[in-house]
Symmetry: C2
Subunit: 290 residues, 2 copies
């Protein structure tokens, strides 16, 4: 069995072919340029494997249309990314490749990858995957299925209680100002301090402020979904920063809902090197084959 | 077919017997006193119908244990209500009545009632039911099933962005201070203004502040779950107040996620006279019979 994965990010595309144990057999990546050029490269890559490939899954940046009855099912919709609004991503791939293709969001792909990467007996049937990178979003798996019927979740844009030492920061979300993404996405370091996050030591108080907001988002997910696990990925996340997030989470929750050991509940990805979405795509492609 | 409903609130119990069209055939209510007395009255009520009753459903105040594998499955757990912590509610009923019994939260019962009360063709598979009364909580139905595997949701305790005109109010939640419940439950009127909400005219600015918080909770649910409908019940809610909530919701969302007409999306209950949980219980009891 051969399975394909497209991880379509706003900066780069990662395409891969794997086997039914979800091992990567071949992999390529290229920058996200125009839809015509980028999708042509994607198709050309998979054409090489046309005879062997059984199914494929796409985990895409968004917003995307996921309602299978909608006229624009399979499109990237009103994205702020130039050239990409209303691109028929799934349709382009389907026209070129005569195999079943799964279509979901980038964060759902990662959530699914983290779910299947765990040994079967340990798999939490409900899991949330947050990315805190250039943008902020979450994929939510509940009882083995993704949440979102009217559309995919947009967890990046929830409002939060402001940190008392951060009341002057307006936030950077073009739609909402100080929503979660507006307060903790990677580029907020430049907006708050005039330099990138990688140059800001963990001893800087801004990291406590960030941890407070991210912990609130984890509390929201906990109180609303009661998932078994919340995984954090993306460039802003590191293990020492996770410790700060766990501390703030414990304070905010104040023992209200049982979640077990925080080192198991709030974690970094199990799949190394940002590979969660690739593994998730392989598994979602395999699931299409029944 | 005869179906039983127990709506177990912190103030009163409502017990009813209905038919398979969910019509109420008999109904009683009594105050919530000690567990021994209240559950004895409950059992005595249903014993009258023992020969005809096919199944029963309990929608209870909480927190409750809903994990069917947990040793305390069927208990009311660490409730602040005197005498009630760690009461084996379901076990008491099962010992007395030899019929299938469904066990869920009060708000899940109401959510299910609102779901089945709609004509079949119009039933939204995903629906959230908020109660804004003495306490605040929500039941969440996603694709026809309740959310919550590790435990039931506790949506009443999410944190919110504070309203600029309300920064001095500490909130009344004993666990968190200014969580949703701490900011908008009925008794916040007494805490803010020294008089009950029923005496505060809708022109008072406090209603705008309340609407802002409740709208934020609706935005959180929308961005996290993408439900098809959000229903609001409880003593604090009225149709003119719903209009304020809709206005605030539109401003906060700022067109970010499509939800259709707000008068259909954010609504009061369809079932009249606080009957949602009774209808929900009848339907959940019937579902047990397959
Ligand atoms: N060590 C770091 N500390 C804080 N922020 C970082 C760090 N490394 C990268 N970032 C920020 O993370 C963002 C990139 O996130 P990443 O997940 O790598 O990519 P993307 O979200 O674009 O897929 C950038 O805003 C970058 O400045
Ligand atoms: N018209 C009203 N305006 C504002 N608050 C009200 C109004 N009527 C009742 N309340 C408040 O609602 C709460 C009771 O809510 P209700 O849903 O009736 O009961 P419970 O939540 O106890 O089941 C009380 O705090 C009461 O003061
Ligand atoms: Zn936003
Ligand atoms: Zn609280």
């Amino acid at each position: 069995m051969r399975l394909g994965s497209i991880e379509a990010g706003g900066t780069k595309f990662v395409c891969a072919v794997g086997d039914e144990q979800f091992h990567v057999l071949d992999r390529t990546q290229f920058p996200t340029t125009t839809p015509a050029e980028t999708l042509a490269k994607t198709v050309a890559y998979f054409k090489q494997f046309e005879d062997e490939l059984d199914a494929l899954s796409i985990a895409s940046f968004g917003p995307i249309e996921i309602r299978s009855q909608a006229p624009q099912y399979g499109y990237i919709t009103n994205t702020p990314k130039p050239n990409w609004p209303y691109t028929d991503f799934l349709g382009t791939l389907k026209a070129a490749l005569n195999i079943p293709i799964y279509w979901t969001t980038d964060v759902n792909g990662s959530a699914y990858g983290e779910y299947v990467a765990l040994p079967e007996a340990q798999r939490p049937r409900s899991l949330v995957y947050f990315t805190i990178g250039t943008g902020v979003g979450a994929g939510e798996l509940v009882n083995g299925d993704f949440l979102g019927e009217l559309g995919h979740p947009e967890v990046g844009h929830v409002r939060l209680k402001r940190h008392p030492d951060d009341l002057d920061f307006a936030g950077i979300c073009p739609y909402h100002g100080d929503c979660l993404e507006g307060l903790v996405a990677g580029p907020t370091f430049e907006a708050r301090l005039g330099k990138p996050g990688v140059e800001v030591p963990l001893s800087d108080h801004v990291w406590d402020i960030m941890a407070y907001y991210i912990a609130q988002a984890a509390v929201q997910e906990t109180l609303m979904l009661r998932p078994n696990k919340i995984v954090f990925g993306g460039g802003v996340i590191s293990e020492p920063f996770m410790e700060k997030i766990r501390e703030q989470f414990a304070q905010l929750m104040n023992g209200y809902a049982e979640v077990g050991a925080l080192t198991d509940y709030l974690t970094m990805p199990v799949v190394p090197e940002n590979g969660s979405a690739t593994v998730g795509n392989f598994a979602l492609a395999k699931r299409l084959l029944g």
